[in-house]
């Protein structure tokens, strides 16, 4: 046992030395003082194939294009948030990202206590009373959801004959993880999108209460499929992998979330309602570099190419041109501000 621990410690130490060594090498190449951009994940951690990974990709982009140093720490539990964020600030970060709605209190506290460091929060709102060195980054998830809803609404009824995956029941479903604002926006956007092209369509909805419980996601999707749902939109993080699995087993279509999830099950994932977190992370770091960083909330939407749906991949030939045209038209209308989308269930009277 002791030997094992010693070995593990040695391996970790060696790995750390290597990573430090590789950083040093890069430093020699660059002549000016390097920017340090860092992030702390929420408890989901790296590998969530969702916003933590998205923010990390943003930092990779920063490293590559701006030549900045980057640093990532993972939070194991909610009590890690504040120490992780403050630790990154004390390490000399120029900007620290907090990833996820659940880190709101922590990042605002850290920003207050470290006025010389810039902070940014993904999916976090910055209000009037918040420190000026904090930038909240929000997305118009309802736009992505709406576009996914347009596709689902048309495919489940009008073009149901395009693939044996669809039936004539005119039912679609949404599986949610925890019920938090970004998730809610995806859902209500989706419902409005479906109804805009297919007012009679029944949209089922289940909240699982977890972002990691695949078994529960699967059961939620199966319960919907039993009721005739032929397209299920997952807004449930890793719980959603169970949703996609259920759709695959039952031969119906799924819609992914946050990132293009086609690779999870290419024959099942119709499209994904995405948000381009990497790009917005990049923009925030660029602002720091150019001294144009300002506090307050920055909301990214379709006009910044930050929201939308992913390509259809294997469904490219299944989805008829009429649907693609409709998506293009709705996208243009959204950019022109012609479509008003509600963002809460309350506004829909749910």
């Amino acid at each position: 046992m002791k030997k094992g621990i010693r070995l593990a410690v040695l391996i970790i130490a060696a790995a750390m030395m290597l990573s430090v060594a590789s950083c040093k090498k890069e430093e020699k190449k660059a002549e000016e003082k390097k920017l340090l951009a860092s992030m702390a994940t929420d408890v989901g951690g790296l590998g969530d194939k969702s916003f933590n990974d998205g923010a990390n990709q943003g930092l990779e982009l920063v490293k590559e294009k701006l030549g900045a140093d980057v640093k990532v720490v993972e939070s194991k539990q909610q009590t890690d948030y504040v120490p992780n964020l403050i630790g990154l600030a004390e390490d000399g970060s120029d900007i620290v990202f907090a990833v996820g709605f659940l880190m709101e209190q922590a990042v605002k506290e850290a920003a207050k206590n470290n006025p010389d460091t810039k902070f940014a929060g993904i999916d976090i709102w910055a209000g009037d009373g918040d420190p000026s060195n904090f930038m909240g980054i929000l997305y118009k998830e309802h736009e992505s959801g709406y576009l996914a809803g347009v596709v689902a609404g048309m495919m489940t009824k009008e073009y149901a004959s395009a693939s044996p995956k669809f039936n004539d029941k005119n039912v679609v479903g949404v599986v949610l993880g925890m019920f938090i604002p970004p998730v809610e926006k995806f859902e209500v956007g989706f419902i409005q999108g479906v109804k805009s092209v297919n007012p009679d369509c029944k949209v089922l909805s289940v909240t699982t209460g977890s972002f990691v419980d695949q078994a529960k996601g699967k059961e939620a999707a199966l319960a919907m499929i039993e009721q005739g749902a032929d397209i299920v939109f997952q807004v449930a993080g890793l719980t959603g992998l169970g949703v996609i699995q259920a759709c695959k087993e039952k031969g119906v279509a799924a819609i992914g979330v946050d990132v293009d999830q086609s690779a999870v099950a290419p024959d099942t994932v119709l499209t994904s309602a995405v948000k381009q977190i990497p790009r917005t992370v990049y923009l925030a770091v660029e602002a720091v570099k150019n001294n144009t960083f300002t506090g307050g909330t920055k909301v990214y939407g379709i006009e910044d190419d930050a929201t939308g749906i992913s390509p259809f991949h294997e469904f490219e030939s299944v989805v008829p041109q009429a649907v693609k045209d409709k998506v293009a038209q709705v996208t243009a209308d959204m950019k022109a501000g012609k479509i008003k989308i509600e963002t809460t269930r309350a506004a829909l009277g749910m």
Binding site: G44, G47, T207, K216, K218, E219
Partner: protein, 317 residues
């Protein structure tokens, strides 16, 4: 459309699917506690089992090897609990808690080692869900046929285990020894049976069962391992064992009840029967757990020496 249209066979099939991991872990815990070793580590053992099942299935492409490796990993991991609680006389609850926390750390570390990233593993090429089969004739019985006789392999194994363990604990010599170790270990030692060995065996069996529960989650119900995918099922299993009165059949029935509560709340949401915040649906299975434990536990009695440290003092050594 009737108000009660969700009360159908699908609900019962979902109940069985949702209760299987709970049943398996609760069965293991029953054996363990009947031998006098408190086990709250099912959550951690399940996550270990789920991980090794997925890794093996991923690299070999054979889900049956994954199944074997998940079960074995659970058994081996549980031996830490056995060593700590039996040989080193550590408090059983403390050791169990440590095992739960350790499992999350270990799997996170190993995820990076095996898959290059934390979070969720890559999808396994073939999974046990493909091996669903209907038992001839029996599966034709209305309602109960599809529920019990048209399922996937680990679900069948869980049914067999319920019957086997109920018989094993009552009618075999080893089974009686296990129960004696939990009721009156000194008596057992007096007739020349090593209490330590019996306890080790019981903990190991519980580890195998929890490992199987984990394998069910990662390679039969789904096709990948996700950190934290047990999501409290190990603790619900603990409640199932307690409200099931420390018996195999009782644990199975309680687990079915919890699975039923979960399947039901999902259908409440699908059918939008009650217009209440979803949090109320989500807590429904857990609230049912509390009520069941509070309601039934008075009538169920733990083994007399459950969690009591057993030290043999040998003189002239």
């Amino acid at each position: 459309m009737s108000f009660l249209m969700f009360l159908n066979t699908d609900l019962l099939v979902a109940t069985v699917r949702l209760s299987t991991p709970i049943t398996l872990a609760a069965l293991g815990a029953t054996v363990c506690e009947r031998a006098g070793v408190v086990n709250i580590a099912m959550e951690g053992i399940m996550i270990i089992g789920a991980f090794f099942a997925a890794v093996t299935a991923f690299y070999t492409g054979n889900p049956w090897l994954g199944l074997a490796s998940g079960v074995l990993a659970g058994g081996i991991y549980s031996l830490i609990h056995a060593a700590a609680a039996i040989s080193l006389h550590l408090d059983h609850v403390v050791s169990g808690a440590v095992l739960n926390i350790l499992a999350f750390g270990i799997t996170r570390y190993l995820m990076v080692l095996f898959f290059g990233h934390p979070g969720t593993s890559d999808a396994i090429p073939s999974f046990l869900g493909d091996y669903q089969f209907a038992v001839p004739l029996l599966s034709k019985i209305p309602v109960l046929g599809p529920v019990f006789f048209n399922q996937t392999p680990i679900i069948y194994i869980s049914f067999i285990l319920v019957i086997f363990l109920a018989w094993f604990l009552k009618h075999t010599r080893t089974g009686l020894h296990i129960r004696a170790a939990g009721e009156h270990p000194l008596a057992l030692e007096t007739i020349g049976v090593s209490v330590y060995k019996i306890k080790y065996l019981a903990v190991f069996i519980s580890g195998l069962a929890s490992g199987l529960a984990g394998a069910y989650l990662s390679i039969e119900n789904n096709v990948s391992f996700t950190e934290g995918m047990t999501n409290g099922k190990g603790f619900i299993a603990l409640a199932a064992m307690i409200s099931g009165g420390w018996s195999a059949a009782g644990s199975f029935l309680s687990a079915l009840f919890f699975g039923f509560a979960d399947a039901l709340q999902i259908r409440f949401q699908v059918f939008r029967i009650f217009h209440v915040p979803e949090e109320l649906f989500i807590i429904f299975p857990y609230a049912a757990t509390i009520i069941a434990v509070a309601g039934f536990v008075r009538r169920s009695r733990p083994p007399k020496a459950d969690g009591v440290d057993f030290i043999i003092e040998k003189e002239n050594e």
